[in-house]
Amino acid sequence: MKLGSLSLAIIAANALAVSAWAHHSHGNYQLTEYTHVTGTVKEIHLINPHSWIYIEIVDAAGEPTMWAMEATGPRGLARAGITRDIIDIGDTVSARCHQLKDGSNGCLLGYLTTEDGIEREWD
């Protein structure tokens, strides 16, 4: 089964793949309260169907930890006047976002304040 071995090979090669974009439906985020996070931008994916910004924050224990922030896709961003050039890897950004209901390191934007000091709605 050539296709089978090819698939297995691909899976094995991807076992260490970074950023498997956690496919969270909006229902997985608690939508009533905002969580505040500030961190350094590590990855930017402004794509369909949802955009993702990965930031590294320093948690309560002083350890660096990754947060995945989900935002709307290119159409929504265009509507909000958000362009690729307002944010870059290494920028310090802060966000008001809706955290995952299970409390893990992910949230739904919400509002993101970029290095230019402007807060925009990335919903």
Binding site: N14, A22, H23, S25, I47, N48, P49
Partner: protein, 203 residues
């Protein structure tokens, strides 16, 4: 990792992934839906005929709808391949994606076998008699579509949610089929009671 990265970063993929145009990613999704509708819809109709839900429908003209089904399949394959390429690394790491492909393979293979054994056979294509084997294949087609649609939808969610959804679909389908079976039995028995007994012919 090189080839998968290329798949995601070539200019077509980038355009589909990043373009705000409604004719890019959203229309690609819509095409996948069109393909599914005609593929699943037409093959379901054919399967229903095999299972005796549409008695008396001649098989030869029904066979003319196979090209419609294969057209839907082609649209789904092309759009599906593009959708896969856009997030190759993600999809290839999901068990649900492989379940979806397997289910589609079972359904497509079953339809091809049905074509070969029932529709292209000149003897049975005219009379409308359907051998038992065809019914098994038809059942496999219907089950496969429910699995494929469920697995496909579930790729948009996290695995634990997907698993619970699969269970919910299984339970719902069983309840629906069971309920339909009971309903048909009740309807038939009341109808026969009015007519003074069950009909003597079996077809």
């Amino acid at each position: 990792m090189g080839i998968l990265e290329f798949l995601e970063t070539n200019s077509l993929s980038i355009w589909l992934n990043e373009s705000p145009s409604i004719f890019a990613y959203p229309t690609l999704l819509a095409l996948h839906t069109f393909g599914m509708a005609f593929l699943v819809g037409t093959s379901t109709a054919i399967a229903l005929r095999m299972l005796g839900f549409v008695p008396g429908m001649p098989l030869a003209p029904l066979g003319k709808f196979f090209p419609i089904m294969w057209l839907g399949f082609s649209i789904s394959v092309v759009s599906g391949t593009l959708l896969l390429i856009l997030q190759a690394r993600n999809f290839l790491a999901m068990p649900a994606f492989y379940i979806k492909l397997l289910a589609i393979a079972v359904a497509v293979r079953s339809m091809r076998l049905l074509w070969a054994r029932v529709f292209s056979d000149r003897v049975s294509a005219g009379t409308g008699l359907v051998p038992r084997e065809a019914q098994v294949l038809a059942g496999a087609v219907l089950i496969s579509w429910v699995v494929a649609i469920t697995a496909g939808r579930v790729t948009a969610y996290i695995p634990s949610q997907g698993l619970k959804t699969a269970v919910a679909v299984l339970i719902s389908t069983l309840v629906l089929i069971g309920g339909g079976h009971i309903a048909v039995r009740l309807w038939r028995s009341t109808k026969w009671a009015q007519q003074g007994g069950a009909p003597t012919s079996t077809h």
